[in-house]
């Protein structure tokens, strides 16, 4: 065990996997000489060379498409897309090719590709650089969607992504990169997809989050315990597709209340999917309708006060919980 920041845990995963498997190579804007816009890939160019750490032009579609092509020919590429907002320029490749080729080809072509991108607001980057859209990718059959909240999970899940035979969309919250935590240094440390983690046990309410929102949920749980004598159970989904809804349902059957927290917009978002699944599988156990705490329905404003108001906060979570009692 070592205490690492999230970005360092991610880098360790990349380094270990690249040492293990010579078919892994990295492509992305500024991942080499610059060291990565969030410094995840810093130092990898020096260790692995230009052939395996490839700086690319600013051309998201061809970077992802080239990753797909190389994956079809026996490689296991990783593409870094700076932020999820830029991934829209590669949406055709991700959605029409990576997600569908296995099915359309009747199982002949699989695309073992890892696409990493950052999401999340809170840094006053304005509307084109601040959104969280994990749920968008979770919508598509044929993809896997991973969104870690802690350094150890980030490492174990990213290593696991390179053992998958499918395309994995790996989304990191910008506010988490500097987060520190204990991380196993065992090179065989993997975290299976589709296993949610109960990060805090409680009997009164289940708060569900992923990526950045797990931390709001945890802070809210502390406030609830200290000030309101409410013990919240906090569940970190870790992967949205596949989704471990069973762990959530089991928890809700114990607590009888459920709040979903996410940085994405509420309307048409993933929190609604969780709410529907909880209703389908635990309706009779619910003492209150499932609540959703999400971003306000606006493009992200630049102004600090407005941005804070637009994002879900721990106070919003506390309020949503208290409204259920």
């Amino acid at each position: 065990m070592a205490v690492l920041r999230m970005r360092d845990a991610l880098r360790e995963a990349l380094r270990e996997e690249m040492r293990r498997n010579p078919k892994i190579f990295l492509m992305g804007e500024d991942i080499g000489k610059y060291g990565g816009s969030y410094a995840v890939t810093a130092g990898l160019l020096e260790e692995f060379g230009e052939e395996r750490v490839r700086d690319t032009p600013i051309a998201e579609s061809v970077i992802v498409g080239a990753g797909i092509g190389a994956a079809m020919a026996g490689y296991h590429p990783m593409v870094e897309l700076m932020t999820i907002n830029f991934s829209f320029l590669a949406l055709d490749q991700i959605v029409n090719n990576a997600a569908k080729l296995l099915y359309m080809s009747n199982g002949q072509i699989n695309v073992p590709l890892v696409i990493r991108m950052a999401s999340g607001g809170g840094s006053q980057l304005g509307a084109t650089h601040s959104h969280s859209l994990e749920g968008l990718y979770a919508h598509f059959p044929g993809l896997k969607v991973v969104c870690p909240a802690f350094p150890a999970d980030a490492k174990g899940l990213l290593k696991r992504a390179f053992r998958d035979q499918n395309t994995v969309i790996f989304i990191e919250h910008t506010a988490n990169y500097g987060l520190r935590g204990e991380v196993p240094d065992d090179p065989d440390f993997l975290i299976e997809f589709g296993q949610a983690n109960i990060v805090r046990e409680g009997r009164d309410v289940t708060i569900v989050g992923y990526s950045g929102s797990v931390h709001q949920a945890l802070r809210a749980a502390e406030i609830l315990a200290e000030q309101e004598e409410v013990e919240a159970e906090v569940i970190d989904l870790r992967t949205l597709r596949p989704l471990d809804i069973a762990t959530v349902v089991e928890s809700v059957k114990k607590t009888n209340r459920c709040v979903v927290v996410e940085d994405d917009w509420k309307f048409g978002g993933f929190a609604g999917e969780i709410a529907a699944l909880v209703m389908e599988h635990a309706f009779d156990w619910l003492d209150a309708p499932v609540a959703r705490v999400c971003s306000k329905d606006v493009p992200m404003p630049y102004n600090r006060t407005l941005e804070y108001a637009a994002l879900p906060s721990e106070e919003d979570v506390v309020d949503a919980v208290l409204a259920m009692f």
């Binding site: 020919a73 072509i109 044929g142």
Partner: protein, 339 residues
């Protein structure tokens, strides 16, 4: 256009047997597509069907240069490319029928043919969406040090797409062995190239420092010669090369096209350059083919096409229980949750 006069020496070099095979393949594709069109009107084939009639010299002249290990990706007008790359035409016809024996198990359809064994890595129906993939394939070839190349076939309609430009640039920048093969049939659906492109196609390729030639896409010998030189270059230099084949599609864009954007005379004019008639004449002139020989070829092609149709007719539909197969590799159900 580089005008290539097909001299007897060129024919001699390619050889009688090979040229007769080219003729057979073009006739076969013509009959295959005509039959597919008929079967569409009978409701045996559904969805979108884009026929290749008129453009056969492009597939036959170019893909015949490749080795089995070379990878081909194509767009949605892909029957000819798949068949010339070696995909069993029976499985292509079965795919058009949506049958389990189709080369994509009935999951792809006309626009999405696949046969990994033959290194035909797909028909792609998002215009220009397969061009980035070709860059990645060629990158893999180069990184692995293997000797194969990637060939990417697309229409003139791709050229205004961003993915075209991103792909040409990166292929040239990274020096990867890809042959870009543009079948310029003058139209993207009903839009004439003049209305969608401000410059000349090969000038664009040249702007990305990719050697580019124009060739008469209705002359199989010319296409073959140009592609032979191109493939030699791509394999030797491990760099991209660009061919624009000037061709014409005789039928509508798809079976649903009322063809309001062109006049009949234009189609008739193009038919005068017909690739089958041209090769037939060339072979007759050097005494390698006579009338009876051509009829034999045509009859053999018709019989082969009928065998494909029969195979497709008699093949089973994919079972409903296979619906969720192949959503995710290594996951038999591919369901999103464990609920």
């Amino acid at each position: 256009m580089t005008t290539r006069t097909t001299t007897p020496e060129v024919l001699e070099r390619i050889g009688r047997e090979r040229l007769l095979d080219f003729l057979y393949q073009m006739v076969f594709l013509r009959r295959f597509e005509e039959r597919a069109g008929e079967l569409y009107t009978k409701g045996k084939i559904r969805g979108f069907l884009h026929l290749y009639t008129g453009q056969e010299a492009c597939a036959v002249g170019s893909i015949s240069v490749l080795r089995p290990e070379d990878r081909v990706v194509s767009h949605y007008r892909d029957h000819g490319h798949a068949i010339v790359k070696g995909v069993d035409p029976k499985t292509v016809m079965a795919e058009l029928f949506g049958k389990a024996t189709g080369c994509a198990g009935g999951r792809g359809g006309s626009m999405h043919l696949f046969d990994v064994q033959k290194n035909f890595l797909g028909g792609y129906a998002i215009v220009a969406g397969h061009m980035p993939i070709a860059v990645g394939l060629a990158l893999a070839a180069k990184m692995s040090g293997e000797d194969w190349i990637a060939m990417c076939i697309f229409g003139d309609g791709s050229i205004a797409e961003g993915e075209f430009h991103e792909s040409l640039n990166l292929a040239a920048l990274w020096k990867v062995p890809v042959l870009w093969f543009c079948e310029n049939n003058l139209y993207g659906m009903g839009v004439h190239l003049k209305e969608s492109l401000v410059t000349d196609i090969t000038k664009l390729a040249a702007a990305y420092e990719i050697p580019a030639v124009k060739v008469d896409g209705m002359d199989v010998v010319a296409v073959h010669e140009a592609t032979r030189e191109a493939v030699e270059y791509v394999r030797r230099e491990k760099r991209p090369y660009f061919i624009e084949a000037e061709t014409y599609r005789y039928r509508g864009h798809s079976m649903a096209d009322p063809e309001l954007y062109r006049v009949k005379e234009e189609v008739e004019q193009a038919r005068k350059r017909d690739c089958i008639e041209r090769l037939r004449r060339q072979l007759e002139e050097v005494g390698w083919l006579d009338e009876a020989g051509f009829h034999a070829i045509n009859e053999r092609a018709e019989a082969e096409v009928e065998a494909c149709v029969q195979f497709a007719e008699e093949s089973p539909e994919p079972g409903i229980e296979t619906l969720y197969d192949h959503v995710l590799k290594g996951d038999p159900h591919g369901r999103p949750t464990n609920a």
